[in-house]
Symmetry: C2
Subunit: 188 residues, 2 copies
């Protein structure tokens, strides 16, 4: 398979972008290709299209599988595995976010929690703990909020996003209601 210039540009861009993240060029390019491909591709097709060795592609696909970003299927009378990216881009986005959380956020939160459990005496450490608590609270707040919001129906999520900062008006409304109801409200 030969890439069209349009697809080539797209694929190369994600190769570059990949290296800015921890992801390597091969993996970025493979996923970009799967993302735009009309049909699932097998490893040989990918290797040929991108000019990577078969083994490199194999490793790249394994990496993508570990991120749960690919789907595998078979064709009748063909033993090779055919790979594709999910149809729904929101699903891709969600998976990416979840995996990053697992790999980066969760370990950081554990480290911070352990650090905050220690009772320390020096002024250096006391200050450090204060800073770590601020970080811990921010990360916990944003990730749990993100997890919450991600559970919403995409349709509702889109209308929330389109509302943008005007959501604030509704918050004010909520606060008024809370006031009227005598200070009762969400406990979180």
């Amino acid at each position: 398979m030969n890439l069209t210039p349009l697809i080539q540009t797209f694929v190369l861009h994600f190769g570059e972008m990949g290296s800015r993240w921890g992801i390597n060029r091969t993996v970025g390019q493979i996923y970009a290709l799967l993302y735009v491909a009309r049909e699932p591709l097998n490893a040989d097709e990918i290797a040929e299209a991108l000019g990577f060795s078969r083994s490199n592609v194999s490793m790249g696909l394994k990496e993508l599988e570990s991120w749960r970003l690919t789907r595998v299927q078979h064709k009748p009378g063909d033993r090779r595995e055919y790979f594709s990216a999910p149809e729904d881009i929101w699903a891709i986005f969600r998976t990416l976010a979840e995996e990053r959380r697992k790999r980066e956020v969760d370990p950081t939160l554990s480290m911070l929690r352990e650090a905050l459990m220690q009772s320390v005496s020096g002024a250096e450490d006391q200050h450090a703990q204060k800073r770590m608590r601020e970080m811990h609270d921010l990360i916990e707040l944003t990730t749990s909020w993100f997890a919450d919001v991600q559970k919403m129906e995409p349709k509702n999520l889109v209308s929330l996003m389109k509302l943008g900062a005007r959501v604030q008006k509704f918050l004010e409304m909520k606060d008024k209601l809370k006031l009227v109801a005598g200070g009762k409200g969400p406990s979180a």
Copy 2:
């Protein structure tokens, strides 16, 4: 300066995390140190604390400056520069998000826009454009929403986040109001 075990753990963790992102270990460690430090530090203090060469620290600090993540100040009678991380962790978070957007999201959006301007004929390219449009729209929606939300007062932002998915109730309320008002509503 000698790091306490508490701070050492924190610093090493962000060194590791840094390498998972595009950021290198040195830069991660330097910023972690500045973040928990009680007082601004000069380059020599940082180099000694982390065991890096002076020149490596200089490069790391330049990198952090390019991300607008550090503050520089001077002490009377001392010509050296003293570096610190902003007090407000929300400000740090915001800056980080803005810079990442500039460096990663904006170039991707331009690439996608250009790709979508082209008129293509083949079925491959038509499908690729459809996928690129989906990606473009998702990125545009999420980033403009994020930018919007970031303009909110931290206090309001926190209460939005604490509300979590229950924000949906308020959206439903909004939809009802829209309905009553005869379909009028936010235009975005």
